[in-house]
Amino acid sequence: MRDARGDVTRPIGARLWLSGAWLALLVLAALCAPLIAPKDPLMQDLFLGRMPPFWVTGAEPGYLLGTDSLGRDVLSRILYGARLALIVALVAGSLTCFIGATLGLIAGYYRGWPDRIISRFVDIWMAFPPVLFAILLIAVMGPGLVSIIIAIVVIDWTRFARVIRAEAMSQGAMDYVASAQVAGRTRFGTMLTEILPNVLPTIVALLTLEMGIAVIIEAILSFVNLSISTDSPTWGGMIAEGRTSVHQAWWVLVFPLITLFLTVLSFSQLGEGLKDRFDPVLR
């Protein structure tokens, strides 16, 4: 039995703080990578290839999480990889959110022909298989940071549009919206001052979730070698390389994988936690 108020709210607090702490750590790593990374992430040393992490016998001092087949420091590469992951998360996440939520809000609140156009557009869009779509896009635009961000926006804006449309629609039917209009508000003003604050918790939750998804998509694209050029370290690229030598050097695969997993998990937990904090009714 779960009591919605007593039992579930407390762990949400813990999740919020844990996920927040992990993400703060990542931001710090990304900002200060040159200061805190023990080695140059690109420096190869063929004599130091596939050194295990520090607690395994035969580890090389100074290489805490071991080295990959080219002798590059795994820890340093993970720290530098955080840069790209976070840039993609922030930029692609916010852009996706802005475009999708705006269209969803307009469709759900104005209804009528704006809704018909936007909804039809969403339906058509969603008929494309998303990953194929992204690969096609990048094949056309060429790999690179900008292409990745555009690909993510193009794939995922419909998620925001659909969810926010539904929320705006149900808020729009409430009496307080009508009374705002009797008080002389314009429709556009009502949308911004009455509807938007009430869908904001959902937008925030979707946004953080989207940031996690953006990190995954970027990793997938790196994995299939469609991301940024291979010499700047990315978690997806590291996972792809680690996969080929998993029997000889599991750490090359496992550490970036764990980092990726924790990051995506943290984004989604942060979203849930923030939604509960923000939502005046649940608070």
């Binding site: 409430m174 009374s179 008080a183 002389g184 009455e194």
Partner: protein, 289 residues
């Protein structure tokens, strides 16, 4: 007697075609209380929404006029119509749960009307809001102004909505079943409060309800609505002593009022309902000819 609100032959239908209101005419005199009774789904709320210009999108006015304080609302451009309605009329809603914005504090939700409609300064509006909350007997108004709706009980929220309805001193209040969503224990207090406010502010009141017992105590005149058609319009005394329409008579027999204080209640007979339905259908057929 001059009407403050006059609805003339209002026809309202679903965009798909089905009629919701059938040539509804209604007068509310300045400073008077007019009851609007009818069973659930009769179209009572839609009359209120048509007057306030907040009809759901699925509905449209097909013909008829609404006059407010001597002005034909249909003749005004949209922006001006909104302003006129906002300054002259206000709603006390049926459901105090959805009538307040859950993500905003109470204070701004009351002062908004004063700032938007009357162009008041924020600080003046806040002082006035506190005064209004006093007037509706809310203890500690300063604290309530800073609260969120979900922190307050249903009765408190309805008091706030009453205060907010009277804020800009409108001369018409539409109360749409203002106690239906409340606990029985607070219903009486809210009814008394509305009557008190109506008298003090000398407003006209269109009182929507399905409770004839309440009407008998509060109203001067009333209209009975059945399936979107006004089947009887009367002054109170006459209605309760000599109802004209058989449906009205049957309704009275089904209501514990002063004509029938403790006697047994008779459900509205099916034959009366059938006859009334037939009348409404014939009305539609005449109209379509």
């Amino acid at each position: 007697m001059n009407s403050f609100l006059e609805v003339r032959n209002l026809n309202l239908s679903l965009k798909a075609g089905m009629p919701i209101l059938r040539s509804v005419s209604l007068n509310v005199a300045a400073g008077q209380v007019h009851g609007l009774v009818g069973e659930s789904g009769a179209g009572k709320s839609m009359i209120g929404k048509a007057v306030l210009g907040t009809l759901p999108r699925a509905l449209q006015v097909t013909s008829g006029e609404i006059w407010l304080d001597g002005v034909n609302l249909n003749s005004l451009p949209t922006a001006e119509r909104r302003k006129t309605i906002g300054a002259k009329a206000a709603l006390i809603p049926q459901d105090p749960l959805t009538a307040l914005n859950p993500s905003k504090r109470i204070g701004p939700q009351i002062t908004r009307r004063l700032v938007d409609i009357l162009g008041w300064q924020k600080s003046d509006a806040e002082a006035r809001a506190v005064e209004l909350l006093h007037e509706v007997h809310i203890p500690d108004p300063a604290r309530v102004m800073k609260s969120y709706p979900h922190e307050l009980s249903g009765g408190m929220r309805q008091r706030i909505l009453i205060a907010s309805a009277f804020a800009a001193e409108p001369k018409l209040i539409i109360a749409d079943e203002p106690t239906t969503a409340l606990d029985v224990t607070v219903q009486k207090q809210i009814l008394r409060l509305i009557a008190e406010m109506q008298q003090r502010h000398d407003t006209a009141l269109l009182f929507v309800t399905h409770d004839l017992g309440v009407v008998s105590k509060t109203c001067d005149t009333l209209s009975v609505l059945y399936a979107g058609k006004v089947i009887e319009e009367a002054r109170m005394r006459r209605f309760f002593t000599r109802p004209i329409h058989p449906y009205s008579a049957a309704l009275l027999k089904a209501t514990p009022t002063y004509t029938n204080p403790r006697g047994s209640l008779t459900p509205v007979p099916q034959s009366v309902i059938d006859a009334t339905e037939r009348e409404v259908r014939e009305h539609d057929m005449r109209a379509s000819r």
